[in-house]
Symmetry: C2
Subunit: 204 residues, 2 copies
């Protein structure tokens, strides 16, 4: 069933806006709007304003480019964090994923993407200059390149390696291998091959 | 991956609002909010305002209770529509579905739900009084009961039949039978049984 005609222009506008979101089709958008219509006026106002406020009031941390409610994000302003250790990630989702592990006590640097000629994203579109600046200013002992293991991620890793390696900083990447809980039978050949080559001493 | 901590309260608020929508989990909500964050300020403002405006400015048609931009909806105010023929439906989605067939030239009456004791919805919660009023006022020749073939729909059909049958109006329901394109093998017994009992003369 397609909705070729809406009984209201206001309804159609709202459905169009929701349908512009990724993964939301017109039918789902309509269902979401109908749900909002049934709610209290106050609740709907709060919904709409949460989006507008987010966009108007959000900050990007001056140091790491992570999303923040203030000029310096909560991670960069945390005294207990090791500022000599910088983890370079693609986006803020990756920051949140690493933070959720509760294993990392350094700080981050959010590139805002990866080099992808197909999408027209070159090194100039990413926060690489500010990263190099940080390294030049000193005080950084190690940089962890924590980008995706995609072609674009690897390209960006390589580019960053070339640009940062000339400065006095230790560069590392995340360990690659078989994911915990994965069966070898269903692990792809490249991952399994690398896991064999980069095997670790056994410890209990 | 669960997001136990958000780097920004504003972000968290927006994610919470989206996650309150039916069928939208926290991960999807986050993805949608990140998509909005990447957009122009103007675009995001338009998105938020489309929701607020919808709720504030929408009307429900005084005659049929359909959603509308004005006091009388575009269907009820259409001179070409047959006002002596009223199709009773559960909600505005059903109006749109029937409108999309382009087969119907009468008007509608939107009940706003069906009788469902489990959900605490009784006849008093639906727009049944205004329907009876319309019938009493005269000028209506036929009422089509076009409710779902669920238990609640059938209950409501029966209740409406009892209430409206005493007035001078012809009551009908939608034809039930095997859906076009369906294979008999996979049609449920009740539908198939009714389709046999209510068989029509063959015409080419």
């Amino acid at each position: 069933m397609s909705f070729s005609e809406y009984p209201s222009k206001l309804l159609e506008n709202a459905v169009n806006e929701f349908a512009s979101l990724p993964g939301i089709g017109r039918k789902t958008a309509f269902r979401l709007v109908m749900n909002l219509l049934k709610r209290d006026s106050e609740e709907v106002k709060r919904f709409g304003e949460s989006i507008i406020r987010l966009h108007r009031e959000i900050h990007y941390c001056k140091l790491c480019h992570n999303i923040s409610d203030s000029e310096i994000c909560s991670i960069c302003s945390d005294e207990k964090r090791d500022r000599s250790l910088v983890c370079v990630v693609e986006n803020i989702q990756d920051v949140m994923a690493i933070e959720n592990t509760r294993q990392y006590r350094g700080v981050y640097h959010v590139l805002g993407g990866v080099i992808s000629p197909v999408d027209g994203i070159g090194p100039g579109d990413l926060k690489i200059d500010t990263l190099e600046e940080k390294v030049k200013n000193g005080g950084i002992g190690e940089i962890i390149l924590a980008l995706s293991t995609t072609m674009e991620g690897d390209t960006t890793n390589f580019y960053l390696f070339r640009r940062l390696n000339k400065h006095n900083v230790f560069l590392s990447t995340l360990a690659r291998g078989v994911a915990i809980g994965d069966e070898l039978e269903y692990t792809d050949e490249i991952t399994l091959g690398r896991a064999i080559n980069n095997r670790n001493p056994y410890h209990q």
